[in-house]
Amino acid sequence: MSGNVGIVIVSHSPKVAEGAADMVRQMVGAEVPVAWTGGNADGGLGTSVPAIMEAIEKAWSEAGVAILVDLGGAETNSEMAVEMLDGDRQGKVVVCNAPIVEGAVIAAAEAASGAPLSLVKKIAEELSPQ
């Protein structure tokens, strides 16, 4: 098990989410736990709270998990999923305000260095103009 921060990618499209995860793995290999999810409960474009919770579980690290999202519903559903986690896990999962592909790659690169969750989030969010 890696002690590094885990990365979860949440897109409306499973293809986008999986593709972004491929790019992350190419960068960091197995040094960082990575999971992705995309699509609604019927397999159409959208996001799913239970699927996001599963992805968080898959990428779980005691150092925490950073979630990268694409559009509005992915963010809202991710925030909802975080609130539905057990109390002690909630504080260790953050949703990053960053572009999904670039954010995931740079967050994972930072995580691979052993950076704490707060720094992983900060580095990813530097990609978004405030």
Binding site: A41, G44, T47, V49, P50, G72, G73, T76, N77
Partner: protein, 206 residues
């Protein structure tokens, strides 16, 4: 008032069926200014609610309302899932088992605040809040003989009032000025649900 099991059932069933019956219209509104899935998503959520109707009807109303919220969170799949989920979860949390219309107003006020926080939005941004806000105010106005009609008219007029608004939140905001001239789909679904709930309460279910 305390709702009996068959009244809880009727209230939830009427709300779900109203949304499902209007799913095509909600989707058409969303195709105009969004990603075109609002009706489909809400239908998926409320079909999950209907599938659990027997279980929901066995619960006291506040617990049943909370469970409706959980179904929507788990099934809807778009931003409307957590938004409507938060609305119903908060209503259920705030409503006492024995409630009157002032208690509905108080619970609704809390639910409105929770949806605002969930969506990081406020009234005036062409969203469901543009219906929930005026309805909250109408509920806070008090209880009189015209209670039901007043709430419904407020909701419908508020949904209509989103037509000339420019979206600044959600997918519709990507369209900028082109979002003007269409009713917000979330405002529409909110008005539909509020109408169905008020009709049920006024028809003697409570």
């Amino acid at each position: 008032m305390v709702l009996r099991a068959e009244e809880v059932r009727r209230l939830i069933e009427a709300t779900a069926k109203t949304v499902i019956a209007e799913a095509d219209r909600l989707t058409a509104l969303d195709q105009a200014i969004g990603d075109g899935d609002h009706g489909i998503n809400m239908k998926r959520g409320f079909e999950a609610v209907l599938a659990d109707l027997d279980g929901l009807a066995q619960k006291p109303l506040p617990d049943a309302v909370k469970s409706v919220g959980t179904h929507l969170v788990m099934k809807v799949g778009g931003a409307s899932g957590p938004l409507y989920g938060t609305l119903f979860l908060t209503l259920g949390k705030e409503l006492p088992a024995e409630f009157d219309r002032p208690a509905i107003a108080k619970a609704f006020d809390a639910a409105f605040a929770a949806v605002k926080a969930r969506g990081k939005s406020d009234v005036g941004q062409k969203t469901m809040l543009d219906v929930l806000g005026p309805v909250r105010d109408a509920l806070a106005y008090g209880v009189d003989n015209g209670w039901g009609d007043r709430i419904k008219q407020t909701a419908n007029a508020a949904a209509e009032a989103t037509v000339p608004m420019k979206a600044v939140r959600g997918r519709a905001s990507f369209l900028g000025d082109r979002s003007i001239g269409h009713m917000d789909p979330g405002a529409c679904s909110s008005a539909l649900m509020i109408g169905a709930i008020v009709d049920c309460l006024e028809s003697g279910a409570a």
